[in-house]
Symmetry: C2
């Protein structure tokens, strides 16, 4: 089996090395077939070994009947969609780790794959090396998935972990992440939740069967999380994690969000630290399943890409499991219509008056304390209610200025 | 696609219900094929609905060319192997959740499947609803698996969790497990580690490619774990868990054991409580991956069986991924040749003298304390060394009687 790799950056070269170095294992994984890389498409200079396979023209791949599988590892570029489409239309299966491509164009590419009876697989696009997508499509195929919640971005989880475990400030933890190569120079995508939103969009599409776009997902990052919040939340045995969530509601709508969440330490997912990722899924038959592992990195991501290549060989042609419907903008619930408990921190003019007002308006409100808190600081957790109703109540308290509002995930 | 179910107990009826109730989802999962149960083989009286499909003669299944997939859900019986073999030889794929059958006869049944070009799948035989086997065969197919460690038995984990969290004695926790239906009247299989040893044997075979039998696996249960041990181990931020392990050693041998282990609370697997299962795997490319979920139960186990049925439809015929070599008795390392750190508790005649003796013999030994310990009790943890060397040293200390020796898992 001859394959082509488009884009020889971190993931592409990882795939090249696995195919080169693990021939025996891979051959066993696909009925004795020998896999080799015929082309590497890239415009930059490659090392001597790889340059022997280098091409600069996508049409060489598209027109070569010997190449049946193409790995798209270019990352986000102007051509990613066009090149994938061209390969699918030329009768080649495509495997990608490009989450933005799948989140934005997954439905179109799957339709093209179906039309041409080839595969379009994207196991590495969510949670890197953790076999998340295939578990949802295959391992839990006998389940209706009702909800998922995941730590989908390693950079933000590293920052939060350092804030919680080492009492670092948000800014210092970000700086450390950058020094360690876990965060980009411009960390916006990771710390503002945009990366997690793309993965959440893909997971919603996979779990609930309708294409959900990243811009439909209410997205909050971790830049507003302060050490005060970490301390208050720690005092009730909980941790703050950036969580991508999706839930199929009884009225048929989908709740989808990326936002910091307060999670009880008794929940396994609260123990996911550092750059690791995890996804918790609820199926109607299996109950709760959690998968944990490295969400990024050259070899881990390449491991997931190569697993998809083997699937393409083992089952050539379109796999109807990989499909979802076109979604409409009405499928997603407005985020503040969802029922949740909240953690709230803010500042007051008159503490006693504010406490009384909150107690009156919010049944079961519980006030938190921390050492050396300024006199005018107040923090509390609420019971479960429609988010906008809690926020309206909070807004209406005279002299209260909210500094932090974080959803609590109890289940 | 017509299937037959052999054995209509807990798992068999769970499979029947999923096939009956989730037709749309299942059909999507296998290219539009409609699945229906044609026969239920059982000798006991079935309810009205199921009795319409009931047969009592295996040959009806074997001789019906319309039935292409057979679910073996009889549990351990005299006929389980013969019936499976008969079906495979009659050209039918077989799906089973029977761990004892796979652990003892997996290699023979896989050979029969290969010969007849049909599938033999057993995803539900380890960790119930958690898609463990398929993750090892497919999701991590681009990896050499170097080691695994898992909580593979829910009953014993429930008992240990109650001892740790609720300070129950071992006996009281077992009684509670029996009252809740988590433990059998005769709990030997679960609390002595035999059930976990079967699953460990299957995992060794899957991960390392050679058939390893349960009786090759050094097996210790949890009956010797006392509240004193729980307390000492808790004092160093660790928990005791019953762990099934396998490791491919550099000399080509396999280390395999089921035994209680001391695990640091910083390790995610230490947070796996109650009847849940989890498996941690190390792959040379992906690094560490952990899967968590329900290890037993009607619907969870049936969910895994049905996922295998869909695989059989999606990829008819033998899948070469599902195979391993015949092992030899020399493949497994004698358990006490393995290097490990140990936790030791016991009783001494002369405490000061014993402490001195241990310090002299065991570099880096660290003594533990607990409230209200009797004067003659002593507990310590050692550094990593060949197990038999540590035990020899311990045995040689004059006047020391060991009450508990537990391996420490640090990685």
């Amino acid at each position: 089996m001859k394959i082509a790799i488009m884009g020889c950056g971190v993931v592409g070269s990882g795939v090249y090395e696995i195919v080169r170095d693990m021939a025996g294992k891979l051959s066993k994984g696909c009925g004795g077939e020998e896999i080799s890389v015929k082309y590497i498409l890239d415009i930059k200079e490659l090392d001597a070994e790889k340059s022997a396979l280098q091409i600069r023209d996508i049409d060489i791949i598209a027109n070569d009947p010997e190449v049946l599988i193409v790995v798209e590892a270019m990352g986000v570029t102007k051509q990613d969609f066009d090149f994938c489409l061209k390969c699918l239309n030329a009768g080649k299966s495509v495997v990608t780790s490009n989450k933005q491509l799948v989140a934005e164009k997954g439905e179109e590419l799957l339709a093209a794959a179906e039309k041409n009876n080839v595969a379009f697989r994207f196991g590495a696009s969510v949670c890197g090396g953790i076999p998340v997508i295939r578990t949802l499509f295959y391992g839990l195929a006998a389940n209706e998935i009702s909800s998922f919640a995941g730590i989908l971005n390693g950079t933000s989880n590293f920052i939060l972990t350092k804030m919680i475990k080492d009492k670092m400030t948000n800014a210092a933890a970000l700086k450390l992440a950058q020094e360690n190569g876990y965060a980009e120079k411009d960390p916006t995508d990771d710390i503002e939740g945009f990366d997690a939103a793309r993965k959440t969009a893909i997971l919603c599409s996979v779990c609930f069967g309708k294409h959900i776009y990243p811009d439909e997902i209410h997205t909050e990052g971790i830049t507003g999380i302060s050490d005060e919040d970490v301390e208050y939340v720690g005092s009730i045995g909980s941790k703050i994690k950036l969580i991508g969530r999706g839930e199929k509601l009884e009225n048929g709508k989908i709740y989808a969000s990326v936002a910091p969440a307060v999670i009880d330490e008794a929940q396994l997912i609260s123990g996911v630290d550092g750059v690791f990722n995890a996804l918790k899924v609820n199926g109607n038959k299996v109950g709760e399943v959690l998968l944990y592992g490295p969400g990024a990195g050259k070899d881990a991501t390449a491991s997931a890409v190569v697993a998809d290549i083997l699937d393409c060989i083992r089952k050539p042609g379109f796999d109807s499991v990989y499909s979802w419907e076109n979604g409409t903008r009405n499928d997603v619930l407005k985020y503040d219509e969802y029922e949740t408990a909240l953690y709230v921190r803010g500042y007051v003019k008159d503490k006693n008056k504010a406490v009384c007002a909150f107690r009156e308006m919010l049944d079961g409100v519980r006030f938190l304390s921390r050492e050396n808190a300024p006199e005018n600081e107040i923090a509390f957790i609420t019971e479960k209610k429609k988010e906008k109703d809690i926020k309206n109540a909070v807004d209406s308290v005279d002299g209260f200025t909210a500094a932090s509002i974080i959803r609590i995930i109890n289940d």
